[in-house]
């Protein structure tokens, strides 16, 4: 069952065969029930049936969850989008989360024009504070155009610590051109 759901024990049902409904609020009622959805292995699965109050007519539906290897997580939708352009050596802040929050990277793009040059090459990384999380590009003294993206990362990468800054780091300065990086995700 989802870690987010386990954090709300009042929603859990003792009897897998039991079903129940909870109207938690007028604005966002939630229906909870259990069913055998695990290939007939009698493993109870908990569903939260959400309501999107912005929909017209109001709809209920299936919440998307993804397995992180051990627990299910609610599949996020991104709410924060950040961009930066840099040519400097070292770390450049890309995303400073709100105080007390962690950033969650759900995707990124890196774009380097073919006019970019370096003295002896540069490795471009995304860093969780000072720890490398993604190596997004490696260029020599010159480069062909680079336009990479992360592809689908689902819930992506959650920072290891609150208040950590997501940095873009160039191991050496660019002598011409620049690196454009976009990231998106959530703060939580």
């Amino acid at each position: 069952m989802g870690d987010d759901l386990i954090a709300q024990p009042r929603r859990q049902l003792a009897n897998p065969a039991q079903s129940s409904l909870f109207n938690e609020s007028t604005a966002n009622p939630v229906t909870v029930f259990e069913a055998d959805m695990n290939g007939g292995q009698n493993c109870p699965v908990q569903f939260v049936v959400p309501v999107d109050p912005s929909s017209s007519p109001t709809t209920v539906g299936c919440p998307c969850t993804v397995l992180n290897g051990s627990n299910g997580e609610r599949l996020r939708t991104p709410t924060t989008f950040k961009s930066v352009s840099t040519a400097a050596a070292g770390a450049t802040a890309l995303w400073t989360p709100t105080s007390g929050k962690k950033f969650r990277v759900m995707g990124w793009t890196v774009l380097i024009p073919s006019t970019t040059t370096t003295a002896a090459g540069s490795t471009i990384t995304l860093q969780d504070s000072a720890a490398t999380v993604f190596t997004v590009a490696v260029i020599g003294t010159t480069t062909a155009t680079i336009a990479y993206n992360s592809g689908a990362m689902y819930n992506g990468y959650l920072s290891v610590l609150k208040d950590n800054v997501l940095n873009i780091n160039c191991s050496a300065a660019l002598t011409a051109g620049n690196v454009l990086v976009n990231v998106w995700g959530t703060e939580e």
Binding site: S19, F33, V60, G61, R76, T79
Partner: protein, 161 residues
């Protein structure tokens, strides 16, 4: 337990379920309903959108170029974009190409010097993508300098709501 429930069917009709609702009933109905993704900023679930607006344009002019003006009272919700900078493009010094939400940078697409060997890129945002910060905001492409030849072709897609 009695709880009125309105279920949005795939064929856009609605079914009202009231009275005692058992798991089988709910499973049956839910299996026909939409997927939801979680908005951590508002702690609410949202229906997963599918794009209904597709906009294509080619741009070479400096400054802000409006490519998507939502209907009055609506916000654009950008779910993806692709771009192609023509290899024949030139500019006086250098230029950057930026997707802009009426003054707020959404993302940097690419950049070039006086010439380019071309640049193509695309992005498909997860979930419901980028929602405009205000109703009636246009989605624009900003060029920091005009192109003297060529241009950048941009296609974006999403919803208005």
């Amino acid at each position: 337990m009695t709880l009125p429930v309105i279920i949005d069917q795939p064929d856009l009709s609605t079914v009202a379920v009231s009275g005692t609702v058992d798991a089988v009933t709910v499973v049956d109905k839910v299996s026909q309903s939409n997927a939801f993704v979680f908005n951590n900023a508002t702690s609410t679930w949202e229906e997963q959108r599918t794009p209904t607006t597709l906009v294509f344009t080619s741009i070479a002019t400096s400054g802000y170029n409006t490519i998507w003006t939502p209907a009055a009272g609506k916000k654009f919700c950008l779910m993806g974009a692709e771009w192609h900078l023509r290899v024949t493009s030139t500019c006086a010094t250098s230029s950057e190409f930026i997707l802009d939400d009426n003054g707020t940078t959404v993302m940097e697409m690419c950049s070039m010097g006086t010439t380019t060997t071309g640049n193509s890129g695309s992005v498909t945002f997860p979930g419901n993508g980028y929602k405009s910060v205000a109703v009636n905001n246009p989605l624009r492409v900003r060029l920091t300098a005009a192109l003297t030849a060529g241009g950048i072709c941009v296609t974006v897609w999403g919803t208005e709501e």
